[in-house]
Chain length 114, copies 2
Amino acid sequence: MVETSTVDPWHALADPTRREVFARVARGQGSVTEIARDLPVSRPAVSQHLRVLLDARLVDVRRQGRERLYQPRLSGLDGLRRELDSYWNQTLSTFKDVAEQAYEPTAAPPEGAP
Amino acid sequence: MVETSTVDPWHALADPTRREVFARVARGQGSVTEIARDLPVSRPAVSQHLRVLLDARLVDVRRQGRERLYQPRLSGLDGLRRELDSYWNQTLSTFKDVAEQAYEPTAAPPEGAP
DNA sequence: GCCATGCGTAAGTAGTAACTTACGCATGGT
DNA sequence: ACCATGCGTAAGTTACTACTTACGCATGGC
């Protein structure tokens, strides 16, 4: 097993605690113990959150002596950015359609599922 | 009560089904029944998802005859964009810090929590 | 006035997931 | 060789949440 299973980045960042863990890592690399010190949860909980963030490709690890240093990763964020941009543009486009429809309520403007 | 309670947009888009509901609405306004037709869940389920999306300021409603037309809303997306951008920039910055640290392992570069 | 359409909400249920404590393995210093 | 530090994982519990069916209210056409 090469660990092909992946995790939805949306799901990974949905949990407030886990998002704080990621925010902390994004701010600067750190060990599990360091990260857990700033948070109101136990160290194992942080470990489990980091596991999910790893599977979502939002963070990376590397050993340094006894510590495991976590740092943020662009790969997971990239997909989110693209998807969010798509929603943004579609929203603007739908605004236009609705506005046009307001002037010609009889004609049928482009809908999501014609 | 003026419904001040709000919902975390991250949480709102974390559920796959709810994200599909939003994607459908973003693609073009539609009634609940129309939206539910494309999805493998019941109409009440879609209603409940739309309620969450409303509370997250990701969609808007307006009555038109007997129907309630849902359309996407920028307000909820905007916060997500800003937060995501922040993570993106912090990640780039942390990359730089880690790279610099690799050349001078003795000095202490800027960390998240000094 | 009456029936059909469209929709929100209530109630109940099953699955998930976030946390805790306990444990075990590896690394580094002495 | 030994102990301390750092961490991941297992097991168990509790809380949440996404879904279903059933119901009730409003709007529009006849």
